[in-house]
Amino acid sequence: MRLERAKAGDGHAFDELLAPVLDPAFRLAMTMLKDRGAAEDAVQEAALKAWRALGRFRTGAELRPWFLAIVANECRSARRGRWWRVLRFGDAGQLGGAVASDRSWAERIDLGAALDRLPRHHLLALTLYYHLDLPMDEVARVLGCSSGGARQRVHRALAALRPAMAVEVDA
């Protein structure tokens, strides 16, 4: 049993357990931190802490929401440092994908700026639901609330984004 071997300290087993959730974890960290090095740090630290805490992980439970919750908290810790506020604009590569039109390009820049200003718990809710495409009950488990509560948080996050967008446009 891979989980039992990992609990017993088998690094290979834990590595195998982690492999399927590494990608969403990294995408979550990247979205939260906007910095590849910081995201790698956060995921690595989360992985080691998860391994330490694996004894508390119950057989049969889903690893992904558990690990994503640890990554999210690690990102929150990282974001408390002053360096994360350094925003990186102007890099077209970061926006990714083809730019359909001047208007959508501008909108996306504005939306990116609005995401930068969004409180972290709102950004986390949006990332889990819209970027990682987690089902709402799994979003709830990462956030530590009920499914209804998670749905509310996602809606509140969207609502919080809209005023930020409006401010950006007005400015």
């Binding site: 690595q44 119950r58 908290n73 990714g96 990116g112």
Partner: protein
């Protein structure tokens, strides 16, 4: 402008990125190096000694970098000796401590898993190493001190619900952990065995309120939790069950797991969180109270937040749930009502640290590779000097 969901997805995608093969390989390498030990206290001592000896600015910078993970590989010094000579590069950073006991505001004990026992009698400003019970390996353990001299260790007997640690022991010191005496337990078999009620019980969370009265929390995957109590310093033990609180039914795989008992005069408090199949986060955390030295327990309240399993009792009526800044909560009426509480304590990576209050205002916590202290009842926390350095 109101972005539609598609635009939000695009904007989030723009911030994201793929895992690089190099990072995957680096993380795998870190995992193959072995599970991170929680015993890094000697490492901290070694790092400081070497740093001072060399006086190297470069090493100082590297040591600073060691207090967070770096993909460039920070330097941490590891050694089993307090005067270490081995310097080893490891790509990880792990918390240093995992147990605290604060019998009063100024006296605090810190124990590192598999490692060392330290005592401070000046609010954590200075530390001295003390001996721990003379057993080959102090595995899962909890300890409780009454003051700077007298305390107990509960060793083994508790792990995950399976409780495969085997026989548990209780050790007692009255000379500030200079020497330890194994308590000849009678009347309660502390070894892990299935009992008549069904299912094994895991013991964890020892708490003594005076030289005679002590408590140990026990649970099992198919039974109600039990709070064992002794009236004679640990020789004899008897158990009292925590019955199901409103809305909760103990059944196979769904059970309550109690934390350690907190004592305030004749009032005892204990929290217990729910465990259920397939879930890693509790559905609820309940608080129980006893006013007869633990003969009987009754449900008192339900906690506000389930993000962390623990409830910190500062008095019989003021409790905190902190560590998750977005939802830190306080009650001042024994759980009847909860309200937001502002604290700068944030638990690392969703893993709750140990929080131990010596009195209503002064408390200590383990977090982020160090010990933190509050002198204002949990609102502000500052890192104190690391034991062993």
């Amino acid at each position: 402008m109101t972005p539609d969901e598609r635009e939000v997805r695009r904007a989030l995608e723009a911030r994201s990125g793929e895992v690089s093969p190099e990072f995957r390989a680096r993380l795998s390498g870190a995992l193959q190096d072995g599970r991170p030990s929680t015993n890094a206290m000697p490492a901290a001592a070694a790092a400081m000694a070497i740093i001072l000896a060399l006086g190297s600015v470069g090493i100082l910078l590297m040591a600073r970098g060691a207090n967070r993970v770096s993909h460039q590989g920070p330097v941490i010094v590891t050694s089993p000796s307090p005067t270490p000579t081995i310097v080893q590069k490891v790509p990880i950073y792990v918390p240093l401590f995992n147990q605290l006991s604060a019998p009063s505001g100024n006296v605090v004990w810190a124990w590192v898993a598999d490692g060392r026992l330290y005592r401070s009698t000046d609010f954590g400003n200075t530390w001295e190493e003390r001996s721990q019970p003379p057993v080959p390996r102090v595995g899962n353990a909890d300890f409780s001190f009454l003051n700077a001299q007298e305390g107990w260790f509960l060793i083994g007997g508790a792990n995950q619900p399976q409780c495969f640690e085997g026989r548990a022991q209780i050790w007692h010191t009255t000379d500030g952990a200079a020497t330890w005496r194994k308590v000849p337990i009678d009347g309660w078999n502390l070894s892990y065995t299935s009992d008549s009620v069904g299912g094994e019980t895991c013991k964890q969370g020892i708490s003594f309120t005076d030289p005679l009265h002590g408590y140990i929390s026990a649970w099992g995957a198919n039974r109600h939790p039990i709070i064992y109590r002794t009236l004679d310093g640990g020789l004899n033990w008897a158990g009292a069950t925590l019955t199901d609180p409103p809305g909760f039914v103990t059944q196979t795989g769904t059970y309550l797991r109690p934390g350690p008992v907190s004592a305030f005069g004749s009032t005892l408090l204990v929290y217990a969180w729910s465990e259920q199949p397939g879930e890693w986060m509790p559905a609820s955390v309940y608080i129980f109270r006893a006013t007869d030295r633990g003969s009987t327990w009754s449900y008192l309240a339900k906690s506000f937040d389930i993000a962390f399993h623990t409830v910190t009792f500062l008095t019989t009526s003021r409790w905190l749930q902190i560590g998750n800044q977005a939802s830190d909560q306080e009650t001042t009426d024994a759980g009847k009502t909860w309200h937001p509480f502002t604290s700068d304590y944030v638990a690392a990576a969703g893993l709750p640290g140990v929080i131990a209050f010596g009195d209503e205002l002064v408390g200590y916590s383990t977090n982020r590779g160090g010990i933190y202290r509050t002198v204002d009842g949990g609102a502000h926390w500052v890192k104190v000097k690391t034991p062993g350095t």
